[in-house]
Symmetry: C2
Subunit: 144 residues, 2 copies
DNA sequence: AATAAAAAAGATTTTTTTGTCTTAAATAAA
DNA sequence: TTTATTTAAGACAAAAAAATCTTTTTTATT
């Protein structure tokens, strides 16, 4: 469904969001441990997330990652997926046709319509903060 | 969603199924042209589909591929996906956790539940013959 | 029996994805 | 101002996926 990079990116962001609930800034070593991911690879992905303004980073001692403080905009799952994997999951054709639409549909176009729409809806409405709260409550997990 | 191999595999099977409606056996060159896929790579994928008993092949002049004649069992989309990509799409965790279930869920586990279930249902119930008929009627396409 | 056409098998190459390593830049604290 | 700690950047390496090439096997036709 998602690339490994995207999976790690979502998990990392969720961990940062959880810690940000308590004003904690976290470094890459801690993130990689918390989500059980390869540290150097995760660091690369964090660079993308910082550039896409999904998380904020601070260099130097006591530095690390935290959610943007602006607070005004709550990040949605959709933004992470778009930043890392692009929007092919819910825009591209299920069978890989370059052109696939109502007028020129692939054989499964209408069968996929509902599913893709539900997926898009879910990604666009699910907020990171919402999910982070479940982690904080201990009713959801980021590894194993 | 699916790998390239799986996309080509589905499209190839659909083309063969369409031609089998009219008792036509087709060779790999014709298939690759019809579905706009790399010929040699498609040939490799056909080998998997033959081994998985999704299509039938005949060697030698006038040989090629056709659907199994048994007729008793109508191939479902699900069988092709399982043969090529495995069942990770609707069984594996959306965030890549090794263990993810009701008792130990990832943060999006319950958000994904419906979508994955719908996808599984769709793949398990959609028949290749059904889709092939749409191709035959000219209301669905396998390229562009 | 020889030839030609087709799939099967296996080796190889290319591209993409995943992952690592090294150096540079920033910055807090001693 | 030096040192230590952190992210950023970029080069590099390994593994997987996508794609190709070559040889073998099968079989219909001449």
């Amino acid at each position: 469904m998602f690339s490994k990079a995207c999976e790690y990116g979502i998990r990392a962001t969720l961990y940062i969001a959880e810690q940000s609930l308590n004003q904690r800034r976290v470094n890459i070593r801690e993130i990689a441990k918390a989500i059980d991911s390869p540290e150097a690879f995760t660091a690369k992905i964090m660079q993308q997330l910082v550039k896409s303004q999904i998380v904020h980073s601070v260099k130097g001692p006591l530095g690390g990652f935290e959610m943007l403080r602006s607070g005004s905009h709550d990040i949605k799952l959709y933004q992470i997926v778009k930043a890392i994997d692009g929007d092919n999951i819910y825009k591209g054709c299920g069978l890989g046709l370059k052109e696939c639409n109502e007028e020129h549909p692939c054989p499964v176009h209408f069968k996929f319509l509902n599913i893709r729409e539900e997926l898009r809806e879910m990604l666009e409405t699910t907020s990171i903060t919402e999910l982070a709260k479940d982690l904080d409550k201990g009713i959801a997990f980021l590894k194993q």
